[in-house]
């Protein structure tokens, strides 16, 4: 029986879609059968980040309204044959789907997939209600900024009200140099405020922008962000993985040339 994981944050722009794409791809790399569902109806992005936009024929709303079968709407990833995407509709809005319908859809997909990962839209309205309806556990994404942490706190409260079985935290876009100088909250500071289990810390990385623009998630590559995402995936599957040392010193040459930037 598969597990339904919702990736949510409350605030926009903290990296929900990037996290969904990377965690989904990473789990597929670990030989799990994975489907990603974009529930951001009207503002779909996940297909672009995955580089699958040009393959869309049917979407989530078509499935819910019965215009096609689930199988017809699932897009097979171009890199991993055990990874699928159910894209969102662009010309509709959040009210096209009801929470009960999402729950039914998730229950149907559970039989077929190991992990169903839902990309939740920003906000706490209908889109959020749809996204969490069928979820077994949640990954809350936040950045180390007071505004994002405030919204994450609100979301965790709502998830508790929905009786979410398991809620884990990802601190995204952290910059160790700023943490060291005291200009940025550390992951410990964030965890202290939110008091939920920390499942991953992802450093700010220019590579993410390149990966997004190319439609190729960077999970699993040699960059710190790629390693951090891979570790999150392994922790999601239940493995114990120590946290990366993000403050590790750069090599002599990197230090020498890195300072010029």
């Amino acid at each position: 029986m598969g597990e339904v994981i919702v990736v949510t944050s409350g605030k926009g722009g903290v990296g929900k879609t990037t996290t969904t794409a990377n965690v989904g791809t990473g789990l597929a790399k670990l030989d799990k059968k994975v489907v990603l569902i974009d529930t951001d109806i009207g503002l779909r992005n996940l297909d672009v980040v995955m580089g699958l936009e040009n393959r869309i024929v049917y979407n989530l709303v078509d499935v819910i309204e019965g215009n096609c079968k689930i199988k017809q709407a699932l897009i097979k990833d171009k890199r991993y044959p055990n990874l699928y995407l159910l894209p969102s509709a662009q010309t509709r809005d959040k009210s096209a789907v009801k929470p009960e319908e999402m729950k039914q859809l998730c229950d149907q997909l559970k039989g077929e997939f190991d992990y169903i990962i839902i990309d939740c839209p920003a906000g706490i309205e209908q889109g959020f209600e749809n996204a969490v309806a069928g979820a077994d556990r949640a990954l809350v994404v936040t950045t180390p900024e007071v505004s994002a942490v405030r919204d994450a706190d609100r979301i965790i409260g709502l998830l508790e009200a929905h009786e979410m079985k398991k809620t884990d935290l990802i601190v995204n876009r952290i910059r160790m140099d700023m943490v060291k100088t005291g200009d940025m909250m550390s992951s410990d500071d964030v965890v202290e405020i939110l008091a939920v289990n920390l499942i991953g810390i992802v450093p700010d990385d220019e590579g993410i922008i390149v990966a997004t623009n190319n439609g190729e998630p960077l999970v699993g590559n040699e960059s710190k962000a790629g390693q951090a995402y891979m570790n999150i995936c392994r922790r999601v599957t239940g493995e114990e993985v120590p946290f990366l040392d993000l403050a590790a010193k750069k090599g002599f040459f990197k230090r020498l040339f890195g300072k010029k930037k």
């Binding site: 503002l43 672009v48 936009e53 040009n54 171009k78 662009q90 010309t91």
Partner: protein, 221 residues
């Protein structure tokens, strides 16, 4: 006793069967009555007409058409002899008429079409502006974009394989003509200069090429 006037519906139009032994004036009245009775059932379709049975002169045929259009909301778009290939001709004539109407009644949209916006039309679509990714054009006829096509365009919805898509910068996410789908390459080559291009169906595949004179001449509109 068989009726001296019968209306037969074929796949593509109406065949009017007239008793050879009946006087023309009597037939006229019966035709008028028959069509008046079935006006509601026949609706306001555009259709082709053929005669069977009694031989009619050209004037008499014209008179019959007038009687039919007076008594119903039908529009007779063409008249055909009821020969063996009548059905085929019906279909071709109707398709041509439909295409002409689609081209003439094209919807013209001014401005850029942005993500999430879409235009749907039973006729052709002309956009004076860009079509961005996430926007879609859906037409039963042809699509012309005087700007960049970066979104999705679907021409010939319903299966018309003669439909085409023309735009001044062809960079679509996806193109569909009739029931054939083509998607953009995963690593698009942007080195070529912007030029007028056309997408059309050939041997069940979507082809994209510069809009040359030869291609324009081969288009069916």
């Amino acid at each position: 006793m068989a009726a001296s006037v019968m209306i037969k519906g074929t796949k593509n139009g109406i065949t009017l069967v007239l008793d050879e032994n009946e006087e023309y004036d009597v037939l006229k009245e019966k035709v008028a009555k028959k069509f008046a009775e079935s006006a509601k059932f026949l609706g306001n379709a555009k259709t082709a007409l053929a005669f069977e049975g009694k031989k009619l002169s050209e004037e008499q045929k014209d008179e019959m058409i007038k009687i039919i259009t007076d008594n119903t909301s039908l529009e007779i778009v063409c008249l055909l002899d009821n020969s063996d290939e009548a059905d085929e001709k019906f279909a071709a004539a109707l398709l041509k008429k439909a295409q002409e109407a689609q081209a003439v009644n094209s919807k013209i949209y001014k401005g850029n079409l942005r993500s999430g916006q879409s235009i749907e039309s039973d006729n052709g679509i002309v956009v004076l502006g860009d079509v961005n990714p996430g926007a879609s054009l859906i037409s039963k006829g042809n699509i012309i974009v005087l700007g960049s096509l970066r979104g999705t365009a679907w021409a010939g919805v319903g299966g018309n394989a003669n439909c085409f898509i023309v735009c001044s910068d062809m960079m679509p996410v996806q193109i569909r003509i009739a029931d054939i789908i083509a998607r953009s390459p995963d690593n698009p080559d942007r080195s070529g200069a912007k030029e007028m291009r056309i997408a059309y169906l050939e041997n069940g595949q979507i082809c994209i090429s510069p809009l040359s004179k030869d291609i324009i001449n081969s288009l069916v509109i």
